[in-house]
Every structure is written in C-alpha cells, then in structure tokens.
Amino acid sequence: MADTSKPATRKAAIVGGNRIPFARSNTAYAQASNQDMLTATLDGLVARFGLQGAQVGEVVAGAVLKHARDFNLTRESVLGSTLAATTPAYDIQQACGTGLEAAVLVANKIALGQIESGIAGGVDTTSDAPLAVGDDLRRVLISLNNAKTMGDRLKALAKIRPGQLVPDMPRNAEPRTGLAMGDHAAITAKEWEIGREEQDELAVRSHHNMAAAYERGFFDDLVTPFLGLTRDNNLRPDSSLEKLAKLKPVFGKGEGATMTAANSTPLTDGASAVLLASDEWAAEKGLPVLAHLVDAQTAAVDYVHGGEGLLMAPVYAMPVMLARNGLTLQDFDFYEIHEAFASTVLSTMKAWEDPAFCKEKLGLDAPLGSIDRSKLNVYGSSLAAGHPFAATGGRIVASLAKMLHEAGPGKRGLISICAAGGQGVVAILES
C-alpha cells in the first residue's frame, strides 16, 4: 500500500520576480552593501505581491563576494525587510550558479510539501568588495589578539613586515589555476574555434534584445528602480558590430585572442529575487502563476586535472536532465544561456552539436543538436544587463517565467548557467 502520510511531489510555481537594475562596478551602487541591495530587492518583491508583514516558507539567497560582516546575510536582510521577522532564511553560494540553485532548493521544498512559498535570490557587489588582510598579517593579528601580556603583544607586533600591509584584493580568478575566468574561457574559445565576429554578434544582439524589451515595458513588473537607476547601466541600445570590432582583446594571448570587454560581462553590482509557491498558495493569495519549475540538474567538470573547460559543466548537465524528462534539446520555446562570455554560449552550443564530443564526453549515440538561435536569449542576457554573480539566476528565472506566461500555456523554457569552480546548473520551466 502506498504511503499516504506525505503528499506526492508537486511542481513549484513561479509567481514573479523583482530585481534592482544592475550597475557596473563603482557606479550607481558604489556605496551600497550586499545587505542594502538584497533588502531593497526583497522589499520591492514584497510590495509587488502585497506580502507586507507576511511570513513566507523561507528565503534562500547568497552572494559570491562576501564580507565577514555578511554573516547570515539573507536572514539579516529578511530582518531588515518588510517581510515578517518570523520568516526563516539561509545563505548558499555556488558562484554564478547561486541564484538558480537557490530557486531549485526553494522549489524542491515546495515540491515535497515542506513549505508552501519561498523566495530565492542573490546579490553581489564588486564595488563594496571585501578586502582581506594578507594571510601572513592575519596570522600576526590573531596571535596579537590572543596575547596575554604586553611582552607577547610586542613580540607579535614585531612580526609585521611592511609588505604584509598590502591588502588582498578579491580577484575573479580560480584559486587552483590562478587564471582569471576570462582566461579560462579564452582557452575554451580557442579549442572550439569560436571567432571574434560571432562573439561580437551575440553581444550586439543581447544589447538590442534587452533594449527592445525595456522599450516595450517587459521589465516594468520585474525591475524596481534603486538609488536613482531605472535601467541596467551596462545596457548599450546603440551597440553595433562596427563599434565592437574596434576593441582590443582582453583575455587570451596573441593573434588568436578574440575576447574583448564587450563580448565578456563586466564586473557588476545588483540583486534579484524570485517568489515561488505551491499553486494552492498562489491561488489563495490571488497571485498569478507564470510558470512551473519542472526539473533541474547540476554538473561539475574537472577543469584542473581533467582538461575540460572551466565553464563547460552545463554541457554535461543538460543531457542528464533532458533524458530524465524525455525531452530533446529542440523541445523548447525559449533558451536562456547565461552570457558569462559570448564565447561560452557559443562553445556550449557547438559542443552540443558535435557528434564526437557528444559520443566521447557525454556518452550519447547522437549529438544533442542545434538550437534555433531566434529562441535564444530573446530579451537579452548578461552581456547587456551585466552579471552580478549571484543575482543572475534570479534575473533569468523571473524573466523566462514571464516570457513563457506571455507565450501561453504549455510553453517550455531552458536555462543554462555556468559557474566558477567548473560547475553548471540547468533547469526547465514550463508555463
């Protein structure tokens, strides 16, 4: 006999989202902390869905670059927000996968009937970035703090060398390889023979698509102005191939270098949040259901010793998720492939089209095949909006859910997000 003590799993609904406009590093949000931005984003979501003083099942969010003071960041933000202070919260961190993984975690608890509603989010600041003292100085300061006598304190202080006083700047580099993420991406771009022009084309299209979406008011109920900013300030509606062609490569070396500041995402500040719920909860509150989160898959690659590209993990996650759902790569109406770098999107798609790669690396009889480019990132992606690491997932989930809702019932959308550490998260949404 079936165990009836627990509800059968159900699909979590995406009710809507909110984000603040994304700002290039050291511009509009130079003075804002992670907590300021996440709190403002939660308050915007609360205002949009009338949740003032309401308790939701949980809030899950994270930041990639965190200060020591960002301890319990999400819970602290909830306490400073207009949500009920009795709303539980926790932090996660999976580099650029943080936002989407947070949505998956909330959706899973809803699916299991453990919660009825939840908020998934992410925030990052590269302006108010944590500076750490170097490891040597840190050890001296800890021993100074532990010293009991004046003599011990002086001994500890005597160990400080001038060179130790230079703080450690956070860098967008892999700890195990010492390479910047862009340098890793450049290696992959070279392996997959991704040209400069196709990267620039993708970047220009991202800007034009997003500008058009803003123009038609698509983001009106997805974005709340913050600190004087009403649109992402990285967005260049007048971006053109001619302008982009003039830029010098910044990642990769020598003649074959193709990656510029325009076809790579800039350092960005921002935050996003998505409201998920059971269908029953949404109906009870009179709130819409834009789409459901159908399934998700995370994968990791060995970019350190295994020779796979740092940002190629979504390529591996995809066939696993598609097989589990009995779907092919072509069974979707919209594709959201996070534009960490234009070359990453292009390498990802090329890998799925490559019979040898799909056979040898993914263990497939046939390649996953190609994607209809007219369905890819139709309202722009990270090259246009910018990429505040942990906030990108929430931006994509909320936008895609709205796109699917607008397209009508039964439409499917696919998300693919690559992350530092050789990880990747993919997900399916359905209206």
Partner: protein, 288 residues
Amino acid sequence: MATTVLDAAPSLASLYAKAALTSRGRGGELPDTRLARHGVTVDRDHLADYARVCRMPLADVLPATYPHMLAFPLQMALMTDRAFPLATVGLVHVRNRIEVFRGVRADEALDLEVWAERFAAHRSGATVDLCASAAVGGQAVWRSRSTYLSRGAKAPDGAPEADVDVAVGSLERTAATWRVPDDAGRRYAKVSGDVNPIHLSGLTAKALGFKRAIAHGMWVKARVLGALAGRLPEALEVDVAFRKPLFLPSTVALSTAEVTGGWDVAVRSATSGTEHLIGSIRTLKEKH
C-alpha cells in the same frame, strides 16, 4: 512675518563661531522671521554616509530624520542671528518630534522652511521650538519640531509652560545592546556638519561644562529608527525626549515595545539604566 530665501546651506562651522562670539546681550521676543531654501536636492553620497553612520539601510526613501540634515543649518542661521533672544551656546536639545506625511524619495527636490515658535517657561530656564517643514511641489511631506532648553534663561511674561515630555508605556525588554565608541560624536559631526564642541572631544566638552563628550541626540534617534528598519509605517510621527546626556564612550541598551499603531522606545545606559532617550513612533493617520 518675513521669509528670507537662501540660495545655499549656511556653513555650520562658521555659525558656531558666530554663536560663540555673539552669545552676550541676548533677550527679547522670538523673531517672526522664516528662512527658506527652495529646490534642495539630496546628494546621494551624503545620504550613503549618513545611512552608514546611523546604521540605516541605504534606500531610495529618505530616513525620517534625514531632512533634518538639510534644515538644521537654516535653523542655526536663525538661532545665531542677533535678533534671536537666546544664546546658541549652551542650548540643550531636549525633544524632537518629526512627522513624515508620506515617504520622501531621494530624487525629490525639497522646499524647506524653518522658523522659531513657542517660547516657553521651564523649571530650569526657558525652551524654544525650532520648527522645519519640507514640501514637494507645494505639498507638505515632512515636518519637525526641535525643542531646545536654555538653562537660566527667562521666557517672556505670560509664556506657556514648556512641553518636553513624551509618554511611553513600559519598556522592560532589551532589544539590542550598542557599544557607542569614543569617536561617535566626531563621526556624526563629519556627516551632519553639527560640529558643536560638546560632541567632538572630552576637552572641548569640558570647556562647555560637560565631563566628557556627548553623543548627538539626533544620531541616537536615527539609530533607533535604523534598528526598526522594515518595521515602520511610511507615514509616521517620531516623537522623542532627550533625557540625560549619553557620554562617550558608552554601552547602551535599546528597548522597544510594539504598541497599537507603532512602537515605544527607550535608549538607556546598559550599566546604570540612566535614560538617554525615550520616544514614541506612531502611524500618522491624518494628512496635514
């Protein structure tokens, strides 16, 4: 009544110097003058500095106490004018009541006006209210009343009794303990421009009769609001009485109690229980 419109905020440092030089020979009635500034815009970097020093979240809606930053220099100009009957040096801020009629956004240009009223008799001197109002496009959005006590001063004959008390209910439970550092006065002075020597250092405070530097009352008030961020109505009235000075450094305890329509609050010494601030925060129902 005469209203003088100023183009820029007066410098507080020079007004304090003027106050020190012109404290003698004051007397008479309150002047009927008003000072005003039109189209005052908020400098977002300043707002960020203010939010940081008062431990408030950085947001687009101004903290209830922020317009005071913009109005205070005008009030100082009014008080240091020779026509003002009380010497500015030695004035003690004993009560501050702020009404926010609606949330004021940082991108709104404010028309500010300040005036003095209610010269009143107090058991140890006289009090006067320095008032301020802020309007956006002709609509009042914010108003404040700062009551100052001048010890030993005498209110004119027939003056009303001073009103310096704020009623609060029982406040037993400590919500937070704050360690207020030695430099709290200097930090707030840097942001607010309120460089009254009693806040800056032990030496300068001693010169004016205080045993140590004391925290700015408006800073304590702002920190209380910061501690209640996300739990406050948009239209509100925050009325606080500043009791005993908060000597620096100190460890103080914030007590809050949710009551019908708002909060009662108190800030007291964590060690002796000496009351520094008591206040009431209420949803503002009537529009003014």
